[in-house]
Symmetry: C2
Subunit: 208 residues, 2 copies
DNA sequence: AAAGCAATCCCCGAAAACACGTGTTTTTCA
DNA sequence: TGAAAAACACGTGTTTTCGGGGATTGCTTT
């Protein structure tokens, strides 16, 4: 393995996708597909042991959160670049992945050229984004992702379940008045005027 | 083409997935992967012209709804079996696809054996379901998918946007009191007690 | 030690949501 | 085609949210 090929691994719980990438990445000069994983845990283990240059990492996996997995890889092995692969083209998610240390973000409908382009970008220290993603990023500059507290998240969760302020208060052992404070803060932070829109936005931004 | 091979086509907007399936389906006796499409429109056109036995159809595609596409294929060519491929394992969606005429439903993380098994099931007139899907179907017998009316759907949509009954009334030119009626019926149909839970469930069931 | 923030609790008035009732059009289909 | 079912519409009370103010405690960060 002591050549100057790039060692690439792919992590995705869909065997179909893995095979697709295997096919895509064969015969690309300078790139070796070292291994594929359907399981994030096993993949992390591998990254810890072996020399890996690029990780193509699916965000949506059962069990393991892609964002967390990305952070962990980054901690284990800072030189190893992570490119997220996902079909979610929401700005909030993209931003979170990049914040978690990803060097790139590809949509799953990316063509071979885009994948290769992203890998090249990433190894030269840049950001590997597929075209669609680039547009999204550039169209939104202000990071208007609300930062919510632990308590607010709890309240949000129970609100979505349909509990009233009183009921939530009973559930988490605080006064209903406190719950309404949290609720008010949530409305403010999400820039909405009622819970309906709050739940809607929060779900779209993957807070619920 | 006048042999007894099964002509299979795959429709998915992700090239990766198409390549994955191409790889999976090669060297399977009796199966010929006739064509793949990233575009549902082109695929429908093809189905109208050519002899296709099996369509592997992605549900989540930009532009074209998988459920509608399935119905259309069924109308064009009733003998042609549709197997849905998706990563959504929600009972409601599965049920809708089957109602729309699909003969099978595979999760995208299905292994090669499951895919082949589903195809065999379907050609022999059965239901081709991957294991996970089968469990979901069997665990839920009562079709508790609310059937909502045009008006209710409209109201639901604006509720999610955060409009009040009065505002919705102005939007769709009915009395706020009527809006509240629709809202009431929505709450009943979704078996919830307030809009927060309504939005939450409706979004999970893909009504929004 | 002081500033900053999260979390808790409090009040109040206006507005909205919710529960229950009822009548009138469309659709459906036996 | 005519009855039954469903969709749509409006009205009256009661409960809950929402927005605007607060205040106190405790923990971190500087």
């Amino acid at each position: 393995m002591e050549d100057n090929m790039l060692n690439v691994i792919v992590i995705d719980d869909h065997p179909v996708v893995l095979q697709g990438f295997s096919f895509m990445l064969q015969d690309i000069p300078g790139v070796r597909l070292a291994e594929t994983f359907t399981d994030a845990i096993a993949a992390l283990d591998y990254v810890a042991r072996e020399m890996v240059d690029i990780v193509l990492l699916d965000i949506n996996m059962p069990g393991k959160n892609g964002i967390d997995a990305c952070s962990e890889i980054h901690q284990l092995h800072p030189a190893c670049k992570v490119i997220a692969i996902s079909n979610i083209n929401e700005h909030s998610i993209i931003q979170r992945m990049l914040q978690a240390g990803a060097s790139g973000y590809l949509l799953k409908n990316a063509a071979r050229d885009e994948v290769v382009g992203a890998i090249r970008q990433v190894v030269s220290g840049g950001l590997g984004l597929s075209n669609n993603v680039r547009e999204i990023i550039e169209s939104v500059k202000s990071g208007d992702l609300p930062v919510i507290t632990r308590r607010e998240k709890e309240v949000l969760h129970w609100l979505a379940k349909g509990l009233s302020s009183t009921e939530i208060g009973e559930k988490i052992f605080i006064s209903p008045l406190t719950v309404e404070s949290h609720r008010r803060n949530l409305l403010q932070k999400f820039k909405v005027t009622n819970v309906a829109a709050l739940i809607h936005n929060a779900m779209e931004m993957k807070y619920i």
